[in-house]
Symmetry: C2
Subunit: 302 residues, 2 copies
Amino acid sequence: MPTRLVECVPNFSEGRRGGVIEQIVAPLRGKAGVRLLDHRADPDHNRLVVSLVGDPEPIAAALLESCRAAVASIDLRTHRGAHPRIGAVDVVPFVPLRGISMEECVEIAREFGRRFNRETGVPVYFYEEAATRPDRRNLEDVRRGQFEGLCREIGAPDRAPDVGGSAVHPSAGATAVGARRFLVAFNVNLASRDLSVAKAIAKAVRASGGGLPHVKAVGVDLADRGMVQVSMNLTDHRRSPVHLVLERVRAEARSRGVEVAETELYGMVPAEAMLDAAAYYLQAAAFEHSQVIELRLLDGDP
Amino acid sequence: MPTRLVECVPNFSEGRRGGVIEQIVAPLRGKAGVRLLDHRADPDHNRLVVSLVGDPEPIAAALLESCRAAVASIDLRTHRGAHPRIGAVDVVPFVPLRGISMEECVEIAREFGRRFNRETGVPVYFYEEAATRPDRRNLEDVRRGQFEGLCREIGAPDRAPDVGGSAVHPSAGATAVGARRFLVAFNVNLASRDLSVAKAIAKAVRASGGGLPHVKAVGVDLADRGMVQVSMNLTDHRRSPVHLVLERVRAEARSRGVEVAETELYGMVPAEAMLDAAAYYLQAAAFEHSQVIELRLLDGDP
């Protein structure tokens, strides 16, 4: 049986006090079935972003410990930072990686939200795939007005939490818990200094402009490097795979007389995205992921 | 610290008697640090090929159990099969996969050969990277004359075993133990029925014809499918990566007015080979293997 793997990327509203950061991160270390891949504290954002991968149950158990520490130590009434936030535990997205469907991931998120509320009293909103109403799919809508705005508006019917009563937790605010696809950050650098070209290509390829589904794109000037960039987030790399996105950008660039200079895959990438790209360009139509030794090692004994 | 991983692909001279095959395979199941990826018995070859991946020490320990079973149950004096062989345990190659250098793999192979000889009395020849003399790098040279020929010639100075005395084990013969790179089986199918084109391209790309290093290639007729094939073994995919081999075949084919129809990666492939191909075609020059979530999961905690 394949291992069940999710990624979880909780964001906490603490990026400055090392002691508190350590209290939040400590429960995530050395737990069977939980791998702490990364944690980054940003003092300007005053925010801690953690990346966990592992089995859903032990991840949820370890994360609840972290959340209790965050709720006990972070006070939103005095918290200041550049990043929008509604709570001490601001967002908790679960991402299906391996052996788990999105539907199961939604259930994992909702169960986590209920347990988190039961143990901390913090009200919970479900977002993206875990949303219970269409106007909560978008995280920005859930976080509208931030902690301060939500304190005033939580009594309004359209802002009633999915779990918990109609008041924010006095110090720890509220928390958004969701399920979403893995996000691939993919930038294509163009051999051109003309920002208008990058902007035009970004507009042509992004979903909101009628381009490729699940692609967000903006044009960015890399003046230092004498290039411009189409900077993209692929929010569902299965439906809009990295290689097809690149081919679309290449075609759009060529039609404007510009070549792709290089690309950047930023941060973590699921093996699947790279294997699919390799198989596509190698024309290896019958290739299966299970042919990759390292992936076989992640699965249970046959 | 990264996990230390080797692949080991022992070949045993038994492909028919289910009971003996099971005695050989059983010690390789359910051992901590040892993953039995595959085992295939071929009755025509009268041979069993096993694929193990894992930590070198537990692999060696489990494999010695298998080898004792094979030595006890297989008699080369009565063994018949289509595949060349010198022993009950015919060949034992170790392949560095992850966190292990070829030099370390050579040491693992030699230590295994010494232990195997000590416990079974079967003489051992070291081959490929583990060879102690240039004329033993090639497995075919080590296996020259097979069991029957070796029985006569083992007393000759150039056939003296690397470990053990100058006589084969009466029933279990001798064993070749080696270290080599992972072998990638890569076939390129051409949109042509002209076998001479496939043969000419195979000759142009293979190492022995002055083509690409570590590439073996032959032209094959796929008459049923109306295509011809350049069938290749890449014996060092780091030095001659899959994608560069394909590009060379593509160029050779185009110069003859033929297109690549599709390719086949046969059997297991190391993640590295696919990731390098993806990064090449995606022009993601700065991409690192450690960005792949699944590979991070194979490593120890940071």
